[in-house]
């Protein structure tokens, strides 16, 4: 058991290092791996150094932070909803965040100052809607039905966003970015605005992990163990909203990461949330950075939207989970 936990951390860590290095070395442009390696080592020509340190390093950093936030948020949301299909992107949390950012822009606000706060508020609304649905009789009992409800909410918010963009052409170009999701072209400075939300969210996760793990035994048992189910769920909702909202403010909506990461982490270390969280912190960046590298190489010299690649990775996982005879309750 103990060796399993060690491998569960070691494996993702090694893979993340490899993918991170690949992210610095590989790209859609002219700077090849050899020149990039020289630049990473501290030498190399000026063009290679610029490409590696000014273009590829920031997006790798953004990918790591966003991936960690989304992976952890997915694990927490799945534990709190007791639903292996609960994923921030599928349940409409990301769509809420991105719709809020677009609304702020259309109303004339500035993204740089208001973006992260608006995104967190939008994510909170999306999260609350998802949980309200999950608590309904019949919907919450059926994990698959909750996903359909989330897809409907996402579709509605997506259509609203599109209408806002149509009506206000001025912001359309500025905003298109928040509608698709990408880590390209983000400088590390854009992380600063979201840093407080991410830190508070991470802290909240650390606080609610133990009660949430107890909740998997049922509300009554958790209460018997001295936890307060309602407070734990509220904390989880706030944490997920902070993490997903902040991540969306940086990189736009990226679906399926919160589904794939906990799925893989549970396969490595078992279902206990307290054990799932550490590998999730590593696996989230692994998935996002890997998807980013693939998005650069697939259609050279162009790049793909990142969300397309995560959908290609994540949708088969969704089908695999649903295909099981009985969707396992968490």
């Amino acid at each position: 058991m103990h060796t399993g936990r060690t491998y569960g951390l070691l494996l993702p860590a090694v893979a993340l290092l490899a993918v991170g290095l690949a992210s610095l070395l590989l790209g859609a442009g002219d700077v090849g791996p050899v020149r990039a390696l020289a630049a990473v080592a501290g030498g190399g020509d000026a063009e290679a150094a610029f490409t590696v340190w000014e273009l590829r390093w920031p997006r790798t950093l953004v990918g790591v932070v966003v991936g960690a936030a989304l992976g952890v948020a997915g694990a927490v949301l799945q534990a709190a909803a007791r639903n292996p299909l609960a994923e921030p992107g599928l349940l409409g949390v990301s769509a809420g965040a991105s719709a809020a950012v677009v609304l702020v822009l259309v109303l004339g606000g500035s993204v740089a100052t208001l973006g992260p706060a608006a995104a967190v508020l939008g994510a909170l609304a999306g999260c609350a809607a998802a949980f309200a649905m999950a608590r309904l009789r019949g919907v919450g009992d059926d994990p698959v039905r909750l996903v359909l409800a989330g897809a409907a909410v996402s579709g509605l918010l997506g259509a609203l966003t599109s209408v806002l963009l149509l009506v206000d052409q001025r912001t359309a170009d500025e905003v298109r970015f928040w509608v698709v999701g990408a880590v390209a072209g983000r400088d590390a400075g854009s992380l600063l605005g979201s840093a407080p939300g991410l830190l508070v969210g991470g802290l909240l996760v650390a606080l609610v992990a133990r009660p949430l793990a107890a909740l998997s035994l049922g509300d009554d048992v958790a209460r018997g163990l001295g936890h307060r189910p309602r407070r734990a769920r509220g904390g989880a909702v706030a944490a997920v909203a902070l993490l997903v909202g902040s991540a969306t403010a940086v990189a736009g909506p990226i679906a399926f990461v919160g589904l794939v990461v906990p799925f893989a982490a549970r396969a490595l270390v078992g279902p206990d949330l307290r054990r799932v969280l550490p590998p999730s912190v590593l696996l989230g960046p692994l998935v996002v950075v890997l998807a980013d590298v693939v998005s650069r190489l697939l259609v050279r010299p162009y790049e793909m939207p990142l969300g397309v690649i995560t959908a290609l990775i994540g949708a088969p996982v969704l089908v695999a989970v649903v295909r099981r005879r009985r969707v396992p309750a968490l």
Binding site: L85, M133, L136, R137, G138, V139, D142, V144, R145, V147, L148, A149, A151, A152, V153, G155, L156, G158, A159, L160, S162, V163, L166, V167, A255, F256, L298, V299, Y302, E303, M304, P305, V308, I309, A311, L312, G314, A315, P316, L318, V319, V322, R323
Partner: protein
């Protein structure tokens, strides 16, 4: 004995009327027939308004007359050349989607099944975009969209292990299949040269503003064949709402009926997507409206077709007028109308019942 039975007219079953003339008689269900009459009246009214409204406004009655070649020359040209093709495309697309949604819902035994939810829309879109990027023949989008629709439907069915008995699994597997095919569409659009990508754009939002004439003609032909087939299948489908064993014992060949219904649904959805792009929520709302009007008995194929046409024409009218001069694509309007209804359906406890 024989004279006695001939003297007493047979009493029709409740809810139906007996039409008799010259020794032949027809049993007409009253409520579905009334529903069809109401829907036709509404449809004519909306069509007249849709033809009348535009950059040059006309009176609805005169617009309707102009559509049939009556009235001033300029009005006739305006209506017949510019507004009528768009209206025709909307009517055909809506009718096809209404029928497709209705058949799919009965086969899947779920009121939420639509071509959009089970990935058929995304499959048709992906293949149609591939054809625009690759092949440039006039009929290529329709053919490819059909192939894509069939592929997506087969994938979702195969991966979910059947449509009728697995509850929501068919739908969520379809969601996954749709996500992959949607990603492939984006991939194709990114790789394509900018002109081809622009030509393919209507398929990604759902719009009637770029109606290629080839696919519209194919849709008209396909619908002319599919609608009678759907009416025929619909009579058998009513039995399919019972459990498989009961339906079999009542004489329905369940697998064959199911396959026929799915085939008609895929043909309708694929050809419709080739014209107007994905308008998935039409296939959700139109059958529901038809069922509400026509009552719980039977499978209202004609009603669903009329309701779908009504919905698309009305949504296109709203999209053209509400935010003028900006034109909101009809796909966005139907999504704004249909998504709240979908959410309400999912949340209401009665939605566990099958259609």
């Amino acid at each position: 004995m024989t004279s006695l039975t001939a003297a007493v007219a047979p009493v029709p079953p409740p809810g139906t009327a007996r039409l008799a003339a010259r020794g032949r008689s027809l049993l007409l269900p009253v409520r579905p027939a009334l529903a069809v009459v109401v829907l036709v009246a509404l449809l004519v009214a909306v069509c007249a308004v849709s033809l009348a409204v535009g950059s040059a406004g006309l009176r609805p009655a005169r617009a309707l007359a102009a559509a049939f070649g009556q009235g001033q020359g300029i009005e006739v040209v305006l209506v017949q050349r510019l507004r009528l093709p768009r209206l025709q495309a909307g009517l055909l697309v809506g009718a096809a989607l209404g029928v497709a949604g209705l058949l799919l819902q009965v086969v899947a035994r779920n009121r939420l099944a639509t071509p959009g939810n089970v990935g058929i829309d995304d499959g048709a879109t992906a293949f149609a975009v591939a054809s625009v990027v690759g092949v440039t023949a006039a009929y290529a989008p329709s053919g490819m969209a059909l192939a894509g629709a069939a592929t997506a439907c087969a994938l979702a069915l195969g991966l979910a292990g059947g449509a009728g008995s697995s509850g929501y699994r068919f739908l969520v597997v379809g969601l996954g299949v749709g996500a992959v095919l949607g990603a492939i569409t984006s991939l194709l659009l990114v790789r394509a040269p900018i002109d081809a990508a622009n030509a393919a754009f209507p398929w990604s939002v759902g719009s009637l503003s770029a109606r290629p004439p080839g696919p519209v003609r194919l849709l008209a032909i396909g619908l002319a064949l599919a609608l009678p087939a759907a009416v025929l299948v619909g009579r058998r489908l009513a039995l399919l709402r019972l459990p498989d064993g009961v339906a079999t014992s009542l004489g329905a060949r369940v697998p064959r009926v199911r396959l026929a219904a799915l085939a008609v649904a895929v043909v309708c959805a694929g050809l419709a997507v080739a014209v107007g792009g994905p308008l998935g929520t039409v296939a959700l709302v139109a059958p529901a409206a038809a069922r509400r009007l026509a009552g719980p008995r039977g499978v209202p194929v004609v009603g669903a077709a009329l309701a779908g046409a009504l919905l698309v024409v009305a949504a296109d009218l709203a999209g053209r007028t509400v935010a003028a001069p900006v034109e909101v694509p009809v796909g966005l309007v139907t999504a704004l109308v249909g998504s709240p209804y979908l959410i309400w359906l999912l949340l209401s406890p009665r939605s566990l019942k099958t259609p």
